[in-house]
Point group: C2
Chain length 140, copies 2
Amino acid sequence: MPPDPETRRSDCPISFALEIFGDRWTLIVLRDLMLRSRQRYRELLEGDEGIATNVLAERLKRLERRKLITRKRDPADARQFIYLPTELAVSLVPMLVEMIVWGIRTGDKEVGSEFLARFETERDTLIAELQAKVRKDADL
Amino acid sequence: MPPDPETRRSDCPISFALEIFGDRWTLIVLRDLMLRSRQRYRELLEGDEGIATNVLAERLKRLERRKLITRKRDPADARQFIYLPTELAVSLVPMLVEMIVWGIRTGDKEVGSEFLARFETERDTLIAELQAKVRKDADL
């Protein structure tokens, strides 16, 4: 279980980042919100990794408290909410891309060869395009 | 507690990466091993974040099992071990650098302004230099 966000272990920026997303699930939720265009609780719950509903609810609260997402009324159903990434989340895309590339290169699954090829020839464009897509989806 | 490394939640490279270092401590240990030139158990235990000895021991075992570090006899004291990053760990440096930069920009501490300035003007050189230093320290 991640610690209270107000607690600081040290002044190290890596430690600071891990206090926000140093767990198995937070970046999975951000991946779904940003790279898989999921906005609704139910859609997030249906991810491939089988996140538990209490874990998802806790991570969404924490992401909102840390200003990585905002929660809005669902325009399609006012009894529901949608979750949208903020600019702070968009600024995590370069790190997520590096993590994806490391996972593709290191894992033993045959996935991501097209992504990897694009990364190797035009990293900056790839990141800019992903960030533009996230901003467009989230109306930023 | 991280899962057994043989378990896969999905084929997603982000999920794969998080199964290795998706917790509050693994990347802190890798930071100390790679960016702070610590090689001995005692040095790793004395990090700023106050890692517990059982957590450190478990993370070192996992990093060794996942081939991110190797364990060798300490040339200065044959009853002890030193822990050295492998090329697989060196390949994590770009992601760690992005995490550092995000943490510097996002955190409220006045740290890392020099690192950030170098990143913004010469990212690739900065990463290459860090990787060269890690390889040199680890005799890779």
